[in-house]
Symmetry: C2
Subunit: 387 residues, 2 copies
């Protein structure tokens, strides 16, 4: 039986009272990218993470925030700190290759930081792709590795197509079931066109937990019956029930009649590629994300790099033509232009550049001031007060 | 601009009047698998398809019906006949390898039957996988190749994991757009467990056109706003409008708020892997399925075979454990057990075995009696009248 019925988040550090929260002004919530990275490095080195690895992690997490994926950025720093302090992750260990073929690799992450495992594994996949046209690498013994896109970008910088995926703690309930088995199991695939790129980075759940939390905070119902299951294991639109007492997120597609079984199949596929192939924990055996004690994550990932030049010439031109075609399509709502996967993140990055910083929630600011105090590091310096 | 707003099917042969239809009795609609194959071979050889290829095609199409995917079986035979008779497909041509790497292959299908291209390409992927752990093959210049699972089964018979995918004629409208760009772009992935297998074979659209047609015939509305767009490019639940005058199917997930952009991204991904990589037609350049004249399909496919033994040992045991875990989960509705991808097809196959034949619709029976007459071949022999 599943002992974890709730989607509600584990609290690593007390985020302060509402009274404190009310004191945070808007300009205090903008933090520049280098400053976020500086702060993360300081936090990590304060708990004896080697400086080079602290920087790898800081760059990886900050990239998520800059791209608008706040769930995977600063938001996760507290979990990293907690896992390292509780000896659930060893930031000093080195990943090692357990098996190698001409186009394949199998890696033991040796329970070090996910980003260290991920970069090690994707570098191996890239090396193989340069030698044989394709590299396919799986890793076990890993931890949270940030956004999948971090690794596909390593491949596209080398003009390869990249894929990356990871299994994650159970949150999604298979079609017809009433307990969580799979995580939100994200998958990313990226490829370069002539001018810009296709960057798909998506979870295989219907929505992220954060979206349900957002409806709850706004006091609104869930907009469809395809997001989450209620206490009775049936779809619900009650955000409170879904978040605190529900039977899990629904897979992409939602209800069975709307093909939710396809999202369930995709989530399972991710775990086959990541967990079953690598021999890491998989599905229901992965620690639950809000009630583990003393359990290592032992997550599995997979990484693929492919050289399009091994196939038809002029790949980039055709991809650019297709992307350009899509972007110029007349939208159903003139206020909402047709986008290509990766465009929403481009928009988020432009906003950060225009604003001179990443705009964090009050929760983020309060939580990470508190963490700074606990770790005795300098808090993040925000934008100056407007004149 | 998209000149094809309708999802309604192209009619290859007149299926007879309702009066005729009324005369078809239930027992006349059960046809044994060998008899369906015999009939298909006869049809194909009557239009000068070589006997060995006629048999390949017959086995491929019949497998779809036996597995319950009626849209891809006998239902498509008329299209094959029409394309060959109109010189839009050359059943005599041989596929050829255009480029080869240690783990990759690029193939020109030379506009022959899709199943011939598909088997040729998957055999190459399997050969590569045995040599290097993985084989990744793309093909251009192809035609409709039946169910993707046909090719993944070639890999699993060799104890490899298999993937197969194809692009298809535009039917799905990207999120926010109001014209079709991508096909239902299916993808299949299969792998063997210790006792049985994981077989995911899914389109990246929310639902198949056939499901909308079914609601129409039943005189019922579409059960959600996530299936199809209406005349105004906005989601509709009017089956008639969606089928005859709508702006296309919606991608898996449905509306944007329910993450339909993920299904759109997956459909685009399939076309990048199949069309953009192989240099075949892609997306909006593929002929529309109900109004092409004189246009060859030039479809693209991709095929992957991977040897799990290049990674962690005991892959099959772990996969079986996961599948067994899923199947024993208490269902939300006791009448609907939790299934694993591939189980619905197993159930369909058992039914065919129990019934001593495939159960076709009246439409099928009438249409294919008519085709038998046109091609001067023996009609399909149905089950005998019950005593």
């Amino acid at each position: 039986m599943n002992s974890c019925l709730s989607l509600s988040r584990r609290t690593y550090f007390q985020g302060g009272s509402n009274e404190q929260a009310a004191k945070i002004e808007d300009y205090e919530r903008y933090i520049s990218r280098p400053e976020v990275e500086r702060y993360m490095v300081d936090c990590m080195t304060s708990i004896n993470v080697p400086a080079d690895r602290a920087l790898m992690l800081a760059k990886n997490l900050t990239e998520a925030d800059v791209r608008g994926h706040f769930s995977h950025g600063l938001n996760r720093l507290a979990m990293y700190v907690s896992d390292i302090q509780n000896d659930l992750c060893d930031p000093h260990a080195d990943p090692k290759i357990l098996k190698e073929g001409p186009a394949t690799g199998w890696i033991d992450g040796c329970n070090t930081l996910g980003v260290v495992v991920g970069e090690f594994a994707m570098n191996l996949a890239i090396k193989k792709a340069k030698e044989t046209g394709i590299g396919w690498v799986t890793a076990k013994g890993s931890n949270h590795f940030g956004i999948c896109q971090w690794y596909t970008a390593m491949a596209t910088r080398e003009n390869l197509m990249g894929m990356a995926s990871t299994n994650t703690s159970p949150l999604v309930t298979p079609t017809r079931a009433q307990e969580t088995v799979f995580g939100t199991n994200p998958i990313a695939i990226a490829a370069n066109g002539k001018k810009d790129g296709f960057i798909l980075d998506m979870s295989t759940s219907s929505v992220a937990v954060g979206k349900i939390e957002m409806q709850l905070r706004k006091g609104q119902a869930l907009p469809s019956k395809g997001w989450a299951l209620g206490t009775d294991g049936k779809p619900t639109t009650d955000a409170n029930e879904a978040f605190y007492n529900g039977k899990g997120l629904m897979p992409l597609g939602g209800e069975e009649i709307n093909s939710g079984y396809k999202g369930y199949g995709l989530g399972m596929l991710v775990d086959i590629l990541c967990g079953i192939m690598s021999g890491s924990n998989n599905g229901p055996n992965i620690r639950h994300w809000n009630n583990y004690v003393g359990e290592v994550a032992n997550l599995g990932h997979f990484f693929v790099a492919i050289d399009p030049d091994y196939f038809a010439p002029d790949f980039k031109d055709r991809l650019q033509d297709l992307m350009d075609h899509l972007r110029q399509l007349p939208p159903a709502d003139p206020a909402k232009p047709v986008l290509v996967p990766g465009d929403p993140e481009e928009i988020a990055m432009k906003e950060v550049a225009q604003n001179g910083g990443i705009f964090y929630t009050t929760d983020h600011i309060v939580t990470y001031r508190s963490l700074a105090e606990k770790l005795n590091v300098r808090p993040m310096q925000h934008r100056t007060r407007p004149q």
